[in-house]
């Protein structure tokens, strides 16, 4: 791959002052070379870097997953698919898979709906556009330390702001950390808070490329804002919708920071593993130095993500017609 691409970058050596007819032929040749080879040249930088820094870790991990591999120990026994076998019978693994799915759905669905709506709102002529757009990004740049602090204040059992507000309606304080459902909700809120603005911005960028005339025509026809969003905007930015759905799915499946921080570095994701995600499960086994098992989990997780992304891709395509 790489060699093919690099020959394409270097233009063919030209003989000096070729006769006109030859020059025309050369031009045709050059054109054909350009048409055939340059696509590879354009994707070459990405592929080169991926082979250097992406493929090696991937294959290495696969190799490790076939071993009884303790970090810090120098002997690694080959166990074939033993780690995977153990994994399939491990209830903690399935628990983590369930939690990941639950938190993924709870956080991604409302997040994307909200993001597309926010982008739609911002895609109109408004005062103070820039300020609104910049503030959308603030959650994503706020460092994790601040996020932990603020959210443990919000979701604190005894002195938390959320429980305080709930108490106005006479509700009992919720121990957010303890319950399965409550912890999933709290973590999903953290994820939504961090990533909604980010995705809104991506939608917004795509919406900017939708020709204004379409909206003008629709406005004349008396279509409401919501109708315009549904009938014009979303169909026009369909590839971006597919993009955001897929990347958000991947992100949700890999979520690590939020549950880790929500549990204040509880690697089991709470005493009952009630919010241990797959990434956290990998991390737990990694700190237990069980590199082989951790690698096996990450390969299983990879498979899950592929399935989840494929399902979402098909759903998105179905709901919105065909891709591109």
């Amino acid at each position: 791959m790489a060699t093919r691409a690099s020959t394409a970058v270097t233009p063919s050596r030209r003989p000096q002052l070729p006769p006109p007819r030859d020059r025309a032929r050369l031009r045709v040749l050059a054109h054909r070379l350009d048409m055939k080879a340059s696509p590879y040249a354009y994707v070459a930088p990405y592929l080169l870097l991926f082979c250097a820094f992406g493929l090696f870790p991937l294959l290495y991990t696969a190799w490790v997953s076939l071993h009884d591999w303790t970090l810090l120990s120098d002997t690694h026994t080959f166990v074939g698919l033993g780690n995977f076998q153990a994994l399939l019978g491990d209830e903690y693994f399935w628990n983590a898979a369930f939690n990941t799915l639950s938190i993924g759905v709870l956080s991604t669905v409302p997040q994307l709906a909200l993001a597309i709506w926010l982008a739609h709102l911002l895609n109109r002529p408004l005062r103070a556009q820039t300020i609104f757009r910049v503030t959308l990004l603030l959650p994503n740049v706020t460092s994790v330390v601040a996020v932990v602090v603020i959210f443990s204040q919000l979701f604190g059992r005894d002195f938390g702001l959320v429980n305080w507000v709930l108490s106005w309606s006479g509700a009992q304080p919720v121990d957010w950390n303890a319950g399965t459902a409550s912890s999933h909700v709290a973590i999903s809120v953290m994820i939504m808070w961090r990533w909604t603005g980010y995705n809104a911005l991506i939608f917004l960028a795509a919406m900017q490329a939708v020709p204004r005339e379409l909206y003008e025509a629709a406005t004349i026809d008396g279509a409401s804002g919501f109708t315009q969003l549904r009938r014009i905007t979303i169909p026009m930015i369909r590839p971006t919708v597919v993009f955001v759905v897929i990347t958000s799915t991947i992100g949700a499946m890999q979520v690590l920071a939020e549950p880790l921080l929500f549990g204040v570095y509880s690697l089991t994701g709470g005493p009952d593993r009630q919010y241990q995600t797959l990434s956290l499960f990998i991390y737990e086994n990694f700190t237990k130095l069980d590199f082989g098992y951790a690698s096996a989990i990450s390969w299983m997780m990879f498979l899950f993500i592929v399935v989840a992304a494929a399902v979402n891709y098909l759903l998105t395509r179905r709901a919105r017609g065909s891709l591109t």
Binding site: L71, L72, V148, V149, S152, Q153, G156, R157, D158, F159, D175, A178, V264, Y265, S266, L267, T268, P271, D272, T287, K288, L289, D290, F291
Partner: protein
């Protein structure tokens, strides 16, 4: 001519070498020693810690005797520090010259004798006489043949309590009377029942069950592992007893259900959400940092169960990746010296691991103003003297997590005590 030269050169060389030897006088071979050959060589030593150990003045002191050495301290968050260390040791690169390893991790690293410098080779075996025997042995390789780490501090136990809350509950507040309240952990629970019955608004008896459970286990002659590093936590009757008592305390509603060092725990500390908290000596510093506003509301009493027990404490080790083992060893020597440990007790609450200091007036006469002038010097040295050493196994941290999670499941009403115990046993089976 051609034959003459070597004949002349050899005696000449020999003369020079003899002269060189006598000139050095110390007996080191001038030609072979890189130090002597390049006296001005700049050496950079890195020291990796997980907290401020108040070492900065000591670096300056070290530079006086080692003008060619530059010292750089790296500090990272507790979890990050130990995770990074694992990565660096696994890949054989990037570790600092001197690293701090906390008690929960020390038994994980000492079996990897080939990944650390043997400090004994650099003369530090001479320090053995200074140390508490068990602390010394924690720093040895499993066969006892290599000295891999030297201790800084130990975590002798006491019980910190809130005098204001005790007063509200009608309990005695003087530290001797309070100590007399709980000769045993059962008595501690009974005192807790009185406290709970007094219904002091917003306050429970202790912060969370995990730390008390840990203290009880620490006081037993055998803890989670036996001397052969076999995991016996599931069958050790002392562990079961500590568990049952912890469960009883939870069921008596004595726990504030706060995980140590979490932000809600910080808040609870300030708001007075709990009346007692198990205090290894270094934790007195943490309480002061986390809740400065509670100064004067605390006091320190003896730990239930009659002294003994150790929580935390640190060793300094030198990974083999380091290129300057001699200087690293000398630095470790200084950072763990008697004088240093004496100073760090008053500055940071770190209890020395050198028993000779336990009778040093500077320590025994020390009172801690934050804790109502409690004589913490005397309290903690008494605790350290009473301490029965216990063998700490390689995965003690993971074992403790399994038990702590089990207790929390009971606390949060997710499991009946018997089910929680069964699941702990299952978790223990997974710890290899």
């Amino acid at each position: 001519m051609g034959k003459l030269r070597p004949r002349l050169v050899t005696p000449l060389l020999a003369t020079v070498m003899v002269l060189g030897l006598s000139a050095c006088g110390g007996g080191t071979d001038a030609g072979a020693s890189p130090d002597a050959a390049r006296p001005a060589e700049k050496i950079k030593l890195t020291v990796a810690l997980f907290s401020d150990f108040h070492f900065a003045p000591l670096y300056e002191e070290f530079k006086k005797t080692h003008p060619n050495v530059e010292i750089v301290e790296r500090r990272a968050q507790f979890n990050d520090h130990h995770t990074n260390l694992t990565t660096q040791l696994a890949t054989g690169s990037g570790a600092a010259d001197v690293i701090a390893v906390e008690a929960g991790y020390i038994a994980t690293f000492t079996p990897l004798a080939d990944k650390f410098h043997d400090l004994g080779q650099y003369g530090l075996t001479k320090r053995q006489g200074d140390y508490l025997d068990w602390k010394w042995r924690q720093g040895l390789s499993p066969d006892g043949g290599k000295l891999l780490g030297l201790g800084t501090d130990v975590g002798g136990l006491a019980m910190c309590y809130r005098t204001d809350l005790f007063e509200k509950a009608g309990l005695p507040t003087g530290r001797d009377e309070v100590s007399a309240l709980w000769p045993t952990w059962e008595a501690y629970m009974e005192a807790g029942k009185k406290f709970t019955a007094a219904k002091v608004a917003g306050a429970k008896w202790f912060d969370g069950p995990g730390e008390n459970f840990r203290a009880m286990v620490d006081q037993a002659p055998v803890g989670f592992y036996d001397e052969q590093n076999t995991l016996v936590a599931g069958t050790n009757p002392d562990v079961r007893k500590a568990w049952d008592l912890s469960v009883a305390m939870i069921q008596a509603g004595q726990s504030a259900e706060l995980a140590a060092f979490s932000p809600p725990w910080n808040t609870g500390l300030t708001k007075g959400s709990f009346a007692t908290i198990i205090c290894p000596s270094w934790k007195t510093g943490s309480i002061k940092d986390a809740a400065p506003a509670t100064s004067g509301k605390w006091d320190v009493a003896a730990v239930p169960g009659g002294g003994g027990g150790n929580q935390g404490g640190t060793h300094l080790m030198a990974p083999k990746q380091g290129k300057h083992p001699k200087e690293a060893a000398e630095l470790i020597d200084l950072l763990t010296s008697k004088d240093t440990q004496l100073k760090l007790f008053t500055e940071a609450g770190a209890l020395p691991s050198i028993p000779a200091l336990y009778d040093d007036p500077a320590i025994t006469s020390y009172v801690n103003p934050f804790f109502s002038d409690a004589p913490t010097g005397k309290i903690f040295t008494d605790a350290a003297k009473a301490l029965k050493p216990q063998h700490v196994g390689p995965k003690a941290g993971d074992v403790l997590t399994a038990f702590g999670n089990g207790l929390q499941r009971i606390e949060q009403g997710k499991q009946a005590p018997q089910d929680a115990w069964q699941q702990v046993l299952k978790d223990l089976d997974r710890i290899k």
